[in-house]
Symmetry: C2
Subunit: 341 residues, 2 copies
DNA sequence: GTTAGCACTCGACGACCGAGAGTGCTAACC
DNA sequence: GGTTAGCACTCTCGGTCGTCGAGTGCTAAC
C-alpha cells in the first residue's frame, strides 16, 4: 500500500512523463505547485517507489520513468477523468450531429476522429455480424451463371455473396426460393443458418423447386466463409510522432501488427463490455510490449457488435484517451440505435 | 540519345543500386561480367551521364546513383520484363485457384499478395461503382422508422443505405415502390439515378403510392452520398524496411499520405488503362517525391472498375513489380469476369 | 579511344573530452 | 524521526579531431 505522499509523487511523475517523454528528476517534481518537499525527500521516495516496482531508471543519474506497474497503478487509482477539452467536445458533437447512412462509414469516421483528437492510432473491428439474426434474404441473378445472395441482419447490416447457378436452372424459381427461405429463416441467428438450411429448409424447398440442391449447397458454402473480421485503422502515422518510436525498428513490428487483421482480432477478442486498458506486457502480443491498448465496445440492438481500440505508447495520455473513448463509444451506440433499431 | 555503352552502364548502375541501395562506383561496374571496360572508362561515361542528368552524386568521392530521369530512361528503354520467380508464380496461381465469393475480398487478397511478394506497399482503390448501372433494387424495412435500401449493380456489387421512413407510411406500399423502381430504373447508370428518380419515377410513383415524396427524397439523399472511394492498403510496414526510409521523418509523410483516402484517390484518379509508372517528382503529391508508384487497372464487364497500386522507393525493382502487377491485374480481370459476368 | 597511376575529397567511425543533469549518501537541522 | 543541504559520483550527450577507405578527376602513357 502506498502512502499518500508516494501516490502524490507517482502521480506527478507519470503526469510529467506523459507530457515530456523524458525521465523525470527529483528537482522538477519538487518545484511543482502542490508538492511541498525538497528534491532530497523526493529522491528518497523515488528510491522506495523504484524498489516497489512502480518506477524505473533508464540509467544511473537519469531521472525516473514509470514502469508498466506504475502506469497500472496510475490508471487504477490516480487517474482523474472527466475533463475534456472544449474544442474536442465540439468536434465530437459536430460529428454526431452529421447525417450518415452507412453503418461502416459512421464507425470508421468515429475512429478517424478519435485518432485525430488523441494523436494515437485507432483501430475498429467489426461490425461483428455473426451473432446477428436474419432480417431478410434476397437473390439477384446477374446472368445465366451467377447470382448475388443478399442477407440483411437485424442490425441493418447487409452482407452479400456471389453464388453460381447450376446450368439448366429455371430463373423463375428464384422467387419461390426467396419466399421459402424468408418464411423459414427470418429471425434465425446467422451462425445457425447453415445447419437450418439443410435440416429445415432443404426438404420444403425440394418439394416446390427442382434442382435446388445445388443452390442450397452454394448458399451453404457461401455462408461457410463467415465474414472474416474487418479491421480498419486510422492514424497509423501518429505512431511515428511518438518520441519513443523515433527508431524505425521499434515501430516496425507495431505496424506489422496493425497490418495483420488476424493479429488484431486475436488481441481484441476477449470482448468484455466497456472500456478496458491493457498496458505494455499485459498485451499478449510481442509487438505491443511497449504500447498500451485501450478498447471499448459499442452496442446495437442489445448485442455488442464491435470494438473500437486506441493504440499508443505506454506513456499515453490515459485520462484524455479514456474519457474520449467513453464519450465516443456511448454516442456511437446511441447513434447506431437511432439508425438501426 | 545515349550510346550503346552508356545504356549498358546506366543499366548496370540502376540494377546495382536497386539491389544494394548504395552509390555505385566505377570499379564495381567494371568488374561485372559483360562489361569489358576499365574503371577509368566507366568513370568518363559516368561523368557524361551525370552531365546529361541521368545520374547523381550524393557527394564528391561517392559513387553515382540514378536520378529520377535515370530511372525513367531505365523503365522506358532498358527494362527487361518477363522473368518471374517460379515460387512467386506458384503463389499467384494458388491464389487464383482459390474460391472466393466476395469481390472486395478477392481484390484485397490480391493486394496483400502483391505486397508480400514485392516487399513494397500495395494500395487498392475501388471497386468504383459509380459508373455501373443498376441491376436490381430492393427495400428492406428494419422497423417502423428505418429501412435499408439495397442496390445491386451490373458488376455484382452491392451497395446499401439506411433511410428513414416517414411516419404513418404504409409498409405494404414497399412492394409497389420496389416494383416500380425496378421497372423504371434497371439499366440506368448509378450517377443518373438521382435525376431519374425525380424526372421519371416520381410522377409514376405518386400515382400509385401515397406519401411517397418523402421516400423519394430519402432515396435521393442517400444516393447523394456517392460512396466515397474505399482504399485498402497492405504492407505498410514494408516501407520501413527500405534503407532510404530508415529515418522516421522520411516515412512519416508517406504513411500520412497512405492514411488519407482522399489523397490516394487524387493521386490515382487519372485512370489510364493498363500499367503506369510514376517516378519521384512525377507524382504530384509532395509526400511521394522520393517514391515510385506503379498503378494498374482491372476491368469487369468492359468498364474499368478499380485501380491497384504499388508504392515503393524510387529504387524499386521495376522489372519484378511491373511483371507481377501485369500478371495480377490480368488474372484479376479474368477472375472477376468469371464471377460477375 | 582506352587505361594505369596518383593526388585529392569527403563521409563514416571511433576516441576523447567537457558540460550538464541527476543521483545516493552523509551529516546537519527542526 | 522526518526533512533538507551539500557534495562526490555516474552517466549521457554533443562536439572535436584524426584515421581509414572508397571513389573520383585528371594527366600521361599506351
Amino acid at each position: 500500500m502506498l502512502t499518500e505522499r508516494q501516490r502524490l509523487i507517482l502521480s506527478a511523475i507519470v503526469d510529467d512523463y506523459i507530457r515530456s517523454a523524458e525521465p523525470v528528476g527529483s528537482r522538477s517534481i519538487s518545484k511543482k505547485s502542490g508538492v511541498g518537499y525538497s528534491p532530497a525527500t523526493i529522491r528518497n521516495e523515488m528510491a522506495d517507489l523504484e524498489e516497489l516496482g512502480y518506477l524505473e531508471q533508464p540509467h544511473t543519474s537519469a531521472g525516473r520513468i514509470p514502469s508498466a506497474k506504475g502506469y497500472r497503478y496510475y490508471v487504477d487509482h490516480l487517474l482523474r477523468l472527466g475533463e475534456v477539452d472544449e474544442e474536442d467536445l465540439r468536434t465530437v458533437r459536430e460529428f454526431f450531429s452529421r447525417k450518415m447512412t452507412r453503418m461502416e462509414q459512421i464507425i470508421q469516421h468515429a475512429a478517424t476522429i478519435l485518432a485525430n483528437l488523441t494523436n494515437y492510432t485507432s483501430i475498429v473491428l467489426g461490425p461483428e455480424v455473426f451473432s446477428n439474426s436474419l432480417k431478410a434474404f434476397q437473390l439477384v441473378p446477374l446472368n445465366e451463371q451467377m447470382a448475388v445472395a443478399i442477407i440483411v441482419t437485424n442490425t441493418g447490416h447487409v452482407e452479400n455473396r456471389t453464388i453460381s447457378i447450376p446450368p439448366g436452372f429455371d430463373m423463375n424459381e428464384f422467387e419461390k426460393i426467396v419466399a421459402i427461405l424468408n418464411a423459414k429463416l427470418v429471425g434465425v441467428p446467422l451462425h445457425k443458418l447453415q445447419t437450418k438450411l439443410y435440416t429445415e429448409v432443404s426438404e420444403e424447398l425440394n418439394r416446390y423447386v427442382n434442382h435446388c440442391e445445388m443452390i442450397i449447397d452454394a448458399l451453404a458454402q457461401a455462408l461457410e466463409q463467415r465474414t472474416e473480421h474487418r479491421a480498419f485503422t486510422s492514424g497509423t502515422s501518429n505512431m511515428l510522432s511518438q518520441p519513443e518510436f523515433r527508431d524505425v525498428n521499434k515501430v516496425k513490428s507495431i505496424l506489422e501488427w496493425l497490418d495483420e487483421t488476424p493479429a488484431l482480432v486475436r488481441s481484441f477478442s476477449p470482448k468484455q463490455e466497456g472500456i478496458q486498458v491493457r498496458i505494455g506486457s499485459e498485451n499478449a502480443d510481442e509487438a505491443l510490449q511497449n504500447c498500451s491498448l485501450i478498447t471499448a465496445t459499442y452496442v446495437v440492438d442489445g448485442t455488442t457488435v464491435g470494438t473500437i481500440g486506441l493504440l499508443g505508447p505506454m506513456r499515453m495520455d490515459y485520462a484524455k484517451a479514456i474519457t474520449l473513448m467513453d464519450i465516443l463509444s456511448k454516442n456511437l451506440s446511441v447513434m447506431l440505435a437511432r439508425c438501426y433499431n
